[in-house]
Symmetry: C2
Subunit: 162 residues, 2 copies
């Protein structure tokens, strides 16, 4: 199957999927956020073929999501650590988890999140940092930003009129 | 390439990717959230082969993310509308967009979000709905939930000790 590239599209969602979108690549990021670093740990967690995992890890290193670090010499051993860019995928992982908890977990959430400081359950909600108000689908109006091109501007204009 | 299935894994992130994770499927959801409904509009937006788009739309209908509705008779014409389950992917789309804005938009964000009521820019932030405090990676402690199985419990125990 030929893979369409969305790299040149003016859309940050497309750009993100271009980088992390091989469909289960985000599970590696999930595991890294949980603290996994070594090839064997990822392999045990994901239960996928070693060559496939190796290829995905290489891609994530190439794209700046993971950093490959030597933690032992003779023999050389490496671990994979999230870069700042990679760790910044945290809200994506939380959003995917919340949706799955609600819509795809027959037996209830497999994992619950607690506040490390207070040991109270946490309910992630998306709010506007400026006003503290909850962000909902209908409350937003998208406008073209500095990275918009003519095509995007035109299509957003059409949307607004319709 | 054989596609590994994570359907039986006890992880809401994996479950979500199982449903929406064909790498650019979320772009259809993005467009639907922006108000697109018709096959031709999705096709124009995504610029992908018609048979591929048709297959992805069918998958999303099968999985309950989109609903196929007839909006015209003789000839019959259909449109695709987000279900509640589909519209609930909104925070995932916002999270992907924010990451792309920060890490993959050389010319700046293509799209800016404004509050429809106040026309002020919106800054989406993830907070704990109970306390209003910002949720960060280090502030959370995951615990096994009702949907956890023995393997997950064991691995979470090990993580906590390490």
């Amino acid at each position: 199957v030929k893979r369409t590239s969305f790299r040149d599209r003016r859309c940050s969602i497309a750009q993100t999927l271009e980088i992390v979108g091989e469909w289960w690549t985000l599970l590696i990021v999930r595991d890294a956020l949980r603290g996994l670093r070594r090839f064997e740990d990822f392999q045990e967690s994901l239960e996928i073929a070693r060559n496939v995992l190796a290829s995905r890890l290489r891609t994530l290193v190439d794209r700046g999501v993971l950093e490959r670090r030597r933690y032992q010499e003779r023999p050389s051993r490496y671990e994979y650590v999230l870069t700042e860019k990679g760790a910044d995928l945290f809200p994506v992982i939380i959003a995917l988890m919340q949706w799955g908890d609600r819509w795809a977990s027959k037996k209830g959430p497999p994992v619950l999140l607690y506040d490390r400081a207070t040991d109270q359950p946490v309910e992630p909600v998306l709010v506007d940092g400026r006003t503290g108000r909850k962000i909902e689908r209908g409350s937003l109006r998208p406008k073209p930003g500095p990275g918009a091109d003519a095509k995007l501007r035109r299509s957003m204009e059409q949307r607004r009129d319709s």
